[in-house]
Amino acid sequence: MKQLLFFLLLLTYALVSYAQEQSVAYQTKQYSYSYSKHISIKSNCEMADIVFVKSTGKSIEIRCTYSAKHTDKSIAAKELERHNILVRENFNDIYISNYFTISSDENEPKAKLKIKFEISIPDEVSLEIHNNFGSFIASNVSLKGIVYQDFGKIELNNLSGDLKIISNLTNIFSDNYSGKLEIRNKSGDVTIKNEKGNNALLFIENTNAKINLQNISSGVNVKIHISNCSINIDKNDLENHAVNIESIKQPIIVESKYKTESKGNKYTLLINAEKPLPGFIIQSTLSTIKIN
């Protein structure tokens, strides 16, 4: 009797496990282009994970992996057809785009879809990335240009270059960036760690977000414009900068050794103001500024 019960339990578990499984059907496409200093990569993507990595070769390799997930394997395979992918080269431009086919008489696709472009580059490239949802991730490469990312996330690791990011509801994380980084975000949290470089620039414009800055080196000019945000700053990062922080409608939270001035609803903190150091300038409205 016990054995029968055990067997039934095992059978139930197996059935439940099977029912909980989903099949992911996926395919890959690969493209290869010769590299030159003048090459520019442009994208117009939907929901794509765009990943830049350093290549060991001398060419630009693009590997596209796209998938469809459904409990029914055959439906997952069929739904792959919704992916439309275009990768082509035109003179010095490599153009990447994707979209999904959903006919007007359909309410929604049966499967959940996903697409990833992994781009290996041997050296610095210019960018013009447009991506809605999904993500933009770059590691150990040198990039210059502009990234428009609506929703989703951006991750930059060990990067050098000159990047401008224009985003909405996008969480941005950067670690070990060297060069010029300009972020114009809306309602997306921003974390910047280990920013470095001589005559480098970190510019952040943001609203309704949390901002964390850690280990910003003395060679980096910092300019921040925020409203309805909370920002955390490492006090050590202020020592080697000419600091000028202005906060409207919110006092600045800072150790007592620093003296803030207030005039009406405006609070000001000045450190090393007279010294010819790279600036650390913040202009904020209705934001909480914490210096720890």
Partner: protein
């Protein structure tokens, strides 16, 4: 002539023919064979035959080998073609554990009715504030949040990216903050 007579005649003919072969023809045939001319090949010809026999064959391709080789090449071609085609168009699969789908509509209060009420009340009680840049800016921000919310909900139909939930929650919080800012102005 009767049948018996005919049979006798045929029997006589057969007997004569047999006797002729055995006696006359046999002797003549034996004589002829014995008198056949005899030819013998010269030593040079035998040497040539011998050297030809032991010479290695330098035939590169026999028609049989050619056909086998062609078949192998053909099969290889088909196999490589299949592999290339298969590699480019093969659908791969892997299994993942099903995650519970959260109804994103349930975490997003898409109705703008409450905001409209607050907005109208603010304008009735504080007409000056109602015409200020700050009020207009808050209203604009709220409209943009509603627009973003719709885009995320549409996206959730084809994507199960968990970031979508976080974005919707963030939008809901921001909408509430804007409402609270307006209420604070009226208070």
């Amino acid at each position: 002539m009767t049948e018996n007579n005919l049979n006798k005649i045929w029997a006589n003919i057969e007997s004569d023919l047999s006797l002729d072969f055995q006696e006359t023809n046999k002797v003549a045939l034996t004589k002829a064979i014995n008198n056949l001319p005899v030819y013998s090949a010269s030593d040079k010809i035998w040497k040539q035959i011998d050297s030809r026999i032991h010479q290695p064959k330098i035939k590169f391709f026999s028609s049989r080998k050619m056909s086998i080789a062609a078949s192998i090449v053909g099969l290889l071609g088909i196999a490589i073609g299949f592999l290339v085609w298969n590699h480019s168009s093969k659908i791969n699969f892997y299994a993942v554990k099903a995650t519970e789908n959260i109804d994103l509509m349930s975490i997003s209060d898409t109705s703008t009715a409450s905001f409209e009420k607050i907005k109208n009340a603010t304008c009735q009680l504080k007409p000056n504030y109602c015409s200020s840049d700050e009020f207009k800016n808050l209203t604009k921000q709220y409209d943009e949040l509603i627009n973003d919310q719709h885009r995320i909900l549409l996206q959730s139909k084809i994507s199960d990216d968990e970031n979508l939930q976080q974005m919707l929650l963030k939008i809901e919080n921001q909408k509430k903050e804007i409402q609270q800012q307006m209420i604070a102005m009226v208070d």
